[in-house]
Amino acid sequence: MTVWSIIGAGVAGLAVASELVSRGAKVRVFDPGGHPGPHGCSWWAGGMLAPWCEYENAEEPVLRLGQTAIDWWAKRTQIHRRGTLVVANQRDLPDLRRFARRTDGFSEIDGKEISCLEPELHNFGRGLYFDAEAHLDPRQALLDLARQLQEDGVVFHKKRAPAQLDSAIDCRGLHARDHLTDLRGVKGEMLVIRCPDVTLTRPVRLLHPRMPLYIVPRGDGVYMLGATMVESEDSSRITARSMLELLSAAYALNPAFGEAEILEIGVDLRPAFPDNLPRIRRLGRTIFANGLYRHGYLLAPALAMGVADLALNNIHSEMVDEDRT
C-alpha cells in the first residue's frame, strides 16, 4: 500500500494528512521543526472561519470553498459558532456600507443589538452580524490534528524529507519557492494580548481603510489582534506603525484594552500565488499544495480534499493547476 509522505506540518500539511487518513490512506509526516509551533506561519493565524467576511475582498472560491471548513474542523477540534461582528467608526461608515454591498450572509444591526451581542462594545451605532461564521484556536487545532494523526499511527519525522520520494505531498508553504516560482510572501503582523477587564465572545472586525483589523477571543481574557497585509518579504520584525494601528483598533473597540498586557508579537509571511488563491500542482512525482495566503484555516480543508481527490482518485478539482513539468 502506498505511503504518502507529507512534507511540512503546518495547517496545510496536517489537514492533508488528516483528510488522507480519514479516507483510509497511509501517511507519514516530515518537518524539521517537528510538531506544530512558532516556526510555521499557521501558528500565527487568527483562526477565523469567516467565508462571508473574507469574500468582501476575495474571489468567489473563498466564499464557496470556505463554507466547507466549519464542519470539517468541528470533527477535529473545538470550534466556536458565535458568528462575526463587523463595526466601523462613525467616520468610516461608508466603508461599512461598501462591505455590506460586497458580500452577504449578514444582518444589519444597530447599536442596541451590538450591545446585546457584545455588552462591552458600546461605541458603535451600526454593524453587520454574520451569524453563520465561527472561529477556532489555531494552535489548539494544529495540536489536535497532530495528536489524532499520531493516534492513528502516523509517524512524524523531525527532519527534512529525503530527496527522491515517490508519493510526496509538499506542503512547505513559502519554503516551496524552490519549485513554485510564482509563490510570494505577504507579510502579516499580529499581537496576542491579555485583558481580563474586557469580555468579547466572538471575533470583531473594525473596518480600516488599509487592512482588515480584527480581534479574536482565545479565552481567559486572551485575544489575538491581527493582522497587517504588507507586500514585503521581510519577516524579521513588526514596525511601530503596525503595532500602533493594531493597538489603536483594540483601543477604539474598548478603551479598557489600553490596560492589556502584550503577550506575543507575531510576524511571518503568508505564502500566496498571484491571485491569492490556493493551488494544487503536480510537478514530477510530487504534488504541491500551497498558496493558502490569509485563508489557512478557512481553505485548508478544501485544499486537503482536493489533494486527496487527486492523490487517491486522480480527480482534478478546481484548485489543481494544469500539470507542469
Binding site: 481603510p209 504588507v230 514585503s232 518579504e233 521581510d234
Partner: protein
C-alpha cells in the same frame, strides 16, 4: 502635447498599485486601463518586497515611485533615494503628509524637499494643493510638473474646488498638470481632462471598486473622452436655450 521631464505618456492615466485584492487583479486593471504610468509606494512595502516590485516592473509601464506615508523632509529624501535604486528611475512622486485625517500635503516641507531632490538630480512630481503660490514655489524649486489634489486621498469626492483648479490651469499654461487624488468616478476623471489637465493619477477608485479591471477600463475611456472634449473646444454654458435650428421665418400652418 506636453511631456513629463521629456517623456510623452502613451495614455494620460497614472494608476496606483496599492490595495488591490490580489496582484493578478492589479495586472488585469493595468491591462484594461492602458495606464502609461504605475505609481508604487516604497515606504509601506519597505524591506524585501522584491517579488512585488518585480511584478510592478513586469507591467511594462513607466514606474513612478512615491513617498507615500512620509511626514518629514528627511524621510521623503531617504525614501526617494531608495526608490531610485530599486526602480532605476529619476522620477519621484513627492508626497509629504501634513495632517493625519485629511492626508493634506505639508506644502512647506514639500517645497524644501523638492529643492533638495531636484538638486540631487531627481525629477520631482509633487503632490500639492491647488494653491497658486505653492505651485510657483515648487516650480522655482525646480519642479517641471505639478500634481494638485482634486480632493483628499481616497475620499472619492472628485474635484472639490473647480475654480482653483481652473485658475491653476490658466496660471501655468505650459506646465504639465496632473490631478492627483480624490477621484472616485470616471466622470470626475473626465471633468479633470475637460478642464485641460494633462493627466489624472488615481488608485483607490480602481483598486477598491467591486471589479477593479472594469473600473480601470471605465476610467481610461472617461479620460480619453475628457481629453478629446478639451481638444474639441466645448461650448460655453448659457442661461437660456439656444435653438439649434432657426425659428424665425418658419412656415406657420395654423
Amino acid at each position: 502635447m506636453k511631456t513629463f521631464y521629456g517623456t510623452a505618456l502613451p495614455n494620460p492615466l497614472m494608476l496606483g498599485t496599492a490595495q488591490y485584492p490580489s496582484p493578478a487583479i492589479l495586472e488585469q486593471a493595468f491591462r484594461q486601463s492602458g495606464a502609461g504610468v504605475a505609481t508604487v509606494s516604497l515606504r509601506r512595502e519597505a524591506g524585501a518586497g522584491q517579488t512585488f516590485w518585480q511584478m510592478i516592473r513586469d507591467l511594462n509601464v513607466l514606474v513612478l515611485p512615491n513617498t507615500a506615508g512620509c511626514h518629514t523632509v528627511k524621510e521623503a529624501v531617504t525614501t526617494a533615494h531608495m526608490a531610485r535604486e530599486v526602480f532605476d528611475t529619476k522620477w519621484i512622486k513627492l508626497e509629504l503628509i501634513g495632517h493625519t485625517d485629511s492626508l493634506q500635503p505639508d506644502v512647506f516641507q514639500l517645497v524644501e524637499a523638492a529643492r533638495i531632490l531636484t538638486e540631487d538630480g531627481f525629477e520631482v512630481f509633487p503632490y500639492t494643493t491647488d494653491d497658486l503660490i505653492v505651485g510657483e514655489r515648487l516650480l522655482s524649486a525646480g519642479c517641471q510638473v505639478l500634481m494638485p489634489w482634486g480632493a483628499p486621498i481616497g475620499s472619492g469626492r472628485g474635484l472639490n474646488n473647480e475654480y482653483a483648479l481652473r485658475a491653476m490651469r490658466s496660471e501655468f499654461p505650459d506646465v504639465p498638470l496632473v490631478i492627483d487624488a480624490g477621484i472616485g468616478l470616471p466622470s470626475h476623471a473626465a471633468h479633470a481632462m475637460e478642464l485641460g489637465f494633462d493627466a489624472v493619477l488615481l488608485n483607490t477608485a480602481v483598486a477598491r471598486a467591486g471589479d477593479p479591471a472594469v473600473m480601470a477600463k471605465a476610467m481610461m475611456q472617461a479620460i480619453a473622452a475628457g481629453q478629446l472634449a478639451h481638444q474639441a473646444d466645448p461650448i460655453e454654458a448659457r442661461d437660456m436655450a439656444e435653438p439649434s435650428t432657426p425659428v424665425i421665418g418658419k412656415a406657420f400652418l395654423s
